[in-house]
């Protein structure tokens, strides 16, 4: 049998996820929150109560519970999306939004009622069948059917033409390496950043130039928003319930851009990952946030040095786990580095070398997390060990996007996540 131990602040998450996975009877022993920051002696005192709870759970099953911990055999199938009738009202839009707010269907902003005709219009832009399960989204492992993707796309205000990007995005976030389970339920502010490559970006008008990570363009705003609504409504990551983010970040409303392939002196991201330039692809990144790097430097070595300096910071999940830091180089910075004869692969290698950080600058507990996470990779780690931000130089990811100006962006990733790229299949 199994018993779970967690602090009081995480009981709701544990219960919700156990229930989503079909184990509503999972016994949970609870220690007070905060737990991770208390003294050794305080842990010893908590253990006394905790062991009594464990013994009670192990030896006393609730009435009616059978001695069989195996899951019942049942094939998982998804039904059509439920239909709800909104009674006649003077203003249906307002009535729907009142309902959406009560049911926590939206991100706090007004939403578009997913009427059957609007959903049908969205479905016309995919060849996949309506009830096909594209993926099951953690942490609730709800079924993202083609229809439920369409419903959330309508809710977010998407034009129907965006449907194919959303289907590919859902496939991508469910990729094993992405680690959606942790991204959705962590205290970290991680958001899902969507990058679109290939001819579809221009056709759909996805902004890759000035203000591409800001507001103002329908496709960028709507794709990111629709994916967030899917992560909430299908994945179950409702803030305060299964989404345990300490602060979250604005990127959880929407976070989408295209790569500025026209002004990229190197190969675009999807080509680097094995797709043809004529393919369209979507890449999802578990992103902690954006850090602007304003520099008017004209020397490639200077630029690389200051970018590497930006990466180095002690409270970094990337150094703890050896991760996948991301950079959005503006066309001007990219051109300076390219003109100096530096390839993208060489740039990654230089950043990897120049951003090494002394392990001893970390807080003691983070140093211990680093040891637990990377000793197998790096060998013995002491305070003077120089730690790399990623396991290998190729793990550093670079795209070129943005407009005029000397600003590039460092986007630290969540830590234990890898971006996933999927082809966009157009109808």
């Amino acid at each position: 049998m199994a018993v779970e131990v967690c602090s009081s602040a995480f009981v709701q998450l544990a219960r919700a996820q156990a229930s989503a996975l079909g184990y509503t009877a999972l016994p949970i022993a609870v220690v007070p929150h905060p737990f991770g920051t208390v003294s050794r002696e305080a842990v010893r005192l908590m253990a006394q109560d905790c062991v009594a709870q464990i013994a009670g759970h192990a030896c006393a099953a609730p009435a009616g519970v059978q001695a069989d911990e195996r899951a019942c055999e049942a094939e998982e199938t998804a039904a059509p999306c439920a239909q709800i009738e909104i009674p006649e009202a003077p203003d249906v839009y307002t009535a729907f939004n009142k309902l959406a707010r009560a049911k926590r269907w939206s991100d706090g902003l007004p939403a578009v009622p997913p009427t059957p005709d609007r959903v049908e219009a969205m479905l016309a832009y995919t060849k996949r069948s309506r009830n096909e399960v594209v993926a099951k989204l953690a942490p609730a492992f709800g079924a993202a059917t083609v229809e439920s993707i369409a419903v959330n796309a309508v809710l977010a205000g998407c034009d129907p033409e965006l449907m194919s990007v959303l289907v590919a995005s859902v496939e991508a976030v469910a990729g094993t390496d992405f680690n959606l389970q942790s991204i959705q339920s962590t205290t970290n502010p991680a958001a899902v950043w969507v990058i679109v490559n290939g001819p579809i970006a221009e056709r759909l008008g996805i902004n890759a130039a000035g203000n591409c990570l800001g507001e103002g363009v329908h496709a960028n705003a709507a794709i990111g928003r629709a994916l967030r609504l899917l992560l909430r409504n299908v994945g179950g990551a409702l803030p305060g319930d299964m989404d345990r983010a300490t602060h979250g970040q604005p990127g959880k409303y929407t976070f989408c851009c295209a790569e500025n392939e026209a002004e990229n002196p190197w190969e675009p991201l999807h080509v680097e990952r094995g797709f043809a330039a004529s393919d369209s692809a979507v890449t999802v990144v578990g992103a902690e946030g954006t850090m602007n790097m304003c520099t008017l430097g004209k020397n490639a070595n200077d630029l690389i040095r200051v970018i590497a300096d930006t990466m180095r910071h002690a409270p970094s999940n990337e150094y703890v786990h050896g991760s996948e830091p991301w950079f959005v180089l503006c066309p001007e910075h990219a051109e300076i580095i390219h003109e100096a004869g530096i390839s993208k692969a060489e740039l990654k290698h230089r950043l990897w070398e120049e951003s090494k950080m002394r392990a001893g600058v970390m807080a003691q507990e983070d140093f211990e997390r680093l040891q637990a996470s990377r000793t197998a990779e790096l060998g013995l780690i002491g305070p003077d060990t120089l730690i790399t931000i990623s396991k290998k130089p190729e793990d550093i990811a670079i795209i070129v996007a943005g407009g005029k100006g000397g600003h590039s962006v460092y986007i630290p990733c969540f830590g234990n996540t890898r971006s996933v790229t999927r082809r966009i299949a157009e109808a």
């Binding site: 049998m1 779970e4 995480f10 010893r44 030896c59 195996r70 059509p80 709800i84 299908v234 507990e365």
Partner: protein, 96 residues
Amino acid sequence: MASHTTVLSPEAPAMQRGQQQRLQLDTLEGKVVGFIDNAKPNFNYLVEDLAELLKSQHGVKDVIIRRKRAASVPAPVSYIDELAGCCDVVITGSGD
């Protein structure tokens, strides 16, 4: 007759899922207990203390402890298979 507007729910469509049920033990006396330490701060200390208390107060025969390399990754399948094969109870840490 009152008119109405129909909308589709954006929530996950209903699925038929298998329900897992809970096993009951008569006693912890003589049993083998496994721990999956989720690598969150202090949980290793709690595991040490619980292991000692389970043995001294509840007669547990043996305790097997496995630690994940980080909280934000799943437990390796090898840990799960090993503990499922030899333990009567497995205790996991979750969250903070």
